[in-house]
């Protein structure tokens, strides 16, 4: 029997979790934009807009210290970050295109090198995804194999019902534990009708066919056509739930400083610049090609997954209107 939670109780759940000293993160209005931010009360939760940046930053922050160093009496002392201090976290409110991103990224983060910063945060987090009933003409989650009601990545999955409450499904043990610990906020029952999903404009993509095309078209006029107008910024990668490239910089002085890891993007001209001055991706079309290849071929080759959840953020944000769904659809049509 599915569980039901009213909107009011969902907000009370947030209040309770905050009281339990958990870090509760969810969509919240920050100035004129909605972002995933720490919630201090249930009333902070804003569910009427897709946050401008994805929820990946909960596990893979925009910028984080990875060590600090200081020269003392001639000797260099290096201090690690105490990851055991990372808080227990509950992420509430990501739609499937955000909730699904850790399910994709776990593979690369725990591959040959284990990114303990990411993994520690993942271990300590519970994700409460919510089925998406908003959506606009940039969304194409269905086309890449997700859906507005896809549970992938969520520990507990909520579906909005017409009477304003949510039906809940525990997808993992973490989700079950969250419900079990706050059982009084949930009710048994079938609940009202679910709120219908919005239709999506992009046709279903044949990802196998697209990958095959990419394999055969490392060189293709398409890349130049797109790169002609791409200005090489980081907007598309930074707001993407699946992009995960980072740069590492030592900041401070030679005697006292911090090593920081922060987001990077393959669209930048310096991304592949070697110390020698040689740059293998010396022109924009090689950079944009990498974006598509990485998402729809290389990541699949290595991990058997597509590096895109179809959230449409890059389409909405691209300064020059480059539309990845349209590009994929063109390739798909052959």
């Amino acid at each position: 029997m599915p569980q039901i939670i009213t909107e009011q109780n969902l907000r009370s759940l947030i209040d309770l979790l905050v009281k339990e000293a958990k870090l509760v993160v969810g969509p919240k209005l920050s100035g004129s934009v909605v972002l995933y931010e720490p919630l201090t009360a249930g009333s902070d939760l804003t569910l009427d807009a897709l946050p401008r940046r994805s929820s990946k930053e909960l596990f893979f922050p925009i910028c984080e210290d990875i060590l600090s160093y200081k020269r003392e009496n001639g000797a260099m002392k290096v201090a690690d970050v105490d990851r055991s201090k990372f808080p227990e976290t509950v992420l509430i409110g990501p739609p499937p295109c955000d909730a699904g991103s850790p399910a994709i990224l776990d593979a690369v983060m725990s591959w040959d090198y284990k990114d303990e910063f990411y993994l520690e945060r993942r271990r300590k987090s519970t994700i409460v995804g919510i089925a998406c009933t908003k959506g606009d003409d940039a969304c194409f989650c269905r086309a890449v194999g997700l859906a507005p009601d896809a549970e992938a990545g969520s520990d507990l999955f909520l579906t909005p019902l017409k009477d304003g409450s949510y039906s809940c499904k525990a997808v993992t043990e973490k989700g079950e534990a969250l419900v079990a610990a706050h059982l009084n906020l949930f009710a048994e029952g079938a609940g009202a009708e679910p709120v219908p999903f919005v239709d999506q404009a992009v046709e279903k993509l044949d990802l196998v066919k697209i990958k095959k095309w990419l394999e055969e078209h490392f060189e293709d006029p398409l890349w130049e056509k797109i790169a002609d107008i791409c200005v090489g910024c980081g907007a598309c990668a930074f707001i993407c739930p699946a992009c995960h490239c980072f740069d590492i910089n030592d900041e401070g002085s030679t005697d006292d400083g911090v090593r920081r890891k922060h987001w990077d993007a393959c669209g930048f001209s310096k991304f592949t610049n070697h110390a020698s001055g040689h740059n293998p991706r010396d022109v924009q079309n090689k950079r944009y090609r990498n974006r598509i290849m990485h998402k729809f071929k290389y990541y699949d080759d290595k991990f058997g997954k597509t590096l895109c959840t179809g959230c449409g953020r890059c389409i909405r944000a691209c300064p020059v209107g480059i539309d990845i769904a349209d590009i994929l659809a063109q390739i798909n049509r052959g």
Binding site: V33, L35, C63, D228, C233, A235, P319
Partner: protein
């Protein structure tokens, strides 16, 4: 100004107005490609999504016949003519579709010897305005969906173009939202103003979209990308963000033509044009100079005069 007296003020600009400009652009573009005046035309093509458009470099008559102009044609295309995009345009004269505010960038780039007038065929657009962000894109431009910069536009007429498409029509009764916002910030006590910008800059993710779309950010080595030694912290944190924004504002002072592209593309909604306008105001007060009105020999910050005010040297 007599342009004001002559202008035709209306409450909405209908799709037919943009359609007429579209026809005129197509006709010109086809003509100059056919007679080989230019090797290509930088213009706009419609996007997949309703009410969107994107920049395009067209080199054939068939493509030129698909060019459009609509309120979705927000981009300042002059960015495609600069060094930052070198290699995109083949050698030879190019055509470019330019609104009045884009013309200011072209004039500024000529001032900075980045462009030669004779290498361009400018299809000017007599522009009533374009969409703001996050507005309803119905095809009709109204007070409700016009961009903030367009509310105070003084360059609807594209001065100095080879041809101009459209007739002078403007929306009536537009409140100058940006000027009002500037006055509000100006009136704040310093600490409050500092807090205002700190809050905005804290959201900056250093995606550099603002730099990449700016026609004047054409430096081959941006100071903010330098890491040996590092000039500005490249990590998106308060200190580096503040430094980046100061660098950006200062480097564009006296050069920025006010196209507000940097602000439009910011995925974090940081009101960058307020800074641009504040710097422009300084230049106006100090040197009686406005960037991009016409190409000049040198901008005031590139020129030394014996009688320059030196009272700031202590």
């Amino acid at each position: 100004m007599n342009a004001k007296a002559n202008k035709n003020q209306v409450t909405s600009i209908e799709p037919a107005y943009y359609q007429a400009i579209t026809e005129a652009i197509r006709k010109e573009a086809v003509q100059i490609l056919k007679d080989e005046t230019v090797v290509g035309v930088v213009g706009y093509l419609p996007g997949r999504r309703k009410g969107t458009a994107s920049p395009a470099l067209v080199t054939t008559v068939e493509e030129a016949e698909k060019l459009i102009f609509s309120p979705a044609c927000v981009n300042n295309l002059s960015v495609y003519l600069t060094k930052a995009k070198k290699g995109v345009l083949k050698q030879g004269k190019v055509g470019i579709v330019a609104k009045g505010c884009d013309m200011r960038a072209l004039a500024g780039l000529m001032t900075e010897s980045q462009l030669q007038r004779e290498d361009l065929f400018i299809i000017g657009v007599v522009c009533p305005g374009v969409y703001g962000f996050g507005v309803e894109r119905t095809g009709t431009l109204t007070e409700a969906n016009i961009a903030r910069k367009c509310r105070e536009c003084t360059v609807h007429m594209p001065e100095g173009s080879d041809v101009a498409a459209g007739t002078h029509t403007e929306l009536a009764d537009l409140t100058p939202e940006e000027a009002e916002e500037m006055a509000r910030i100006e009136a704040m006590p310093q600490a409050e103003r500092w807090a205002f910008w700190k809050e905005h800059f804290s959201r900056c993710i250093r995606c550099m979209a603002c730099r990449q779309v700016c026609p004047f950010c054409y430096c081959e080595q941006c100071l903010c990308d330098k890491n040996r030694p590092q000039a500005v912290e490249s990590s998106p944190r308060p200190a580096g963000n503040m430094a980046w924004h100061l660098v950006r504002a200062m480097h564009l002072a006296g050069r920025c033509g006010g196209c507000a592209e940097c602000e439009r593309v910011c995925p974090m909604d940081i009101p960058l044009n307020l800074l641009n306008r504040r710097m422009a105001q300084e230049l106006k007060e100090l040197y009686d100079f406005e960037a991009g009105l016409t190409p000049v020999e040198k901008g005031p910050l590139n020129e030394y005069k014996e009688n320059d005010d030196q009272s700031f040297i202590k």
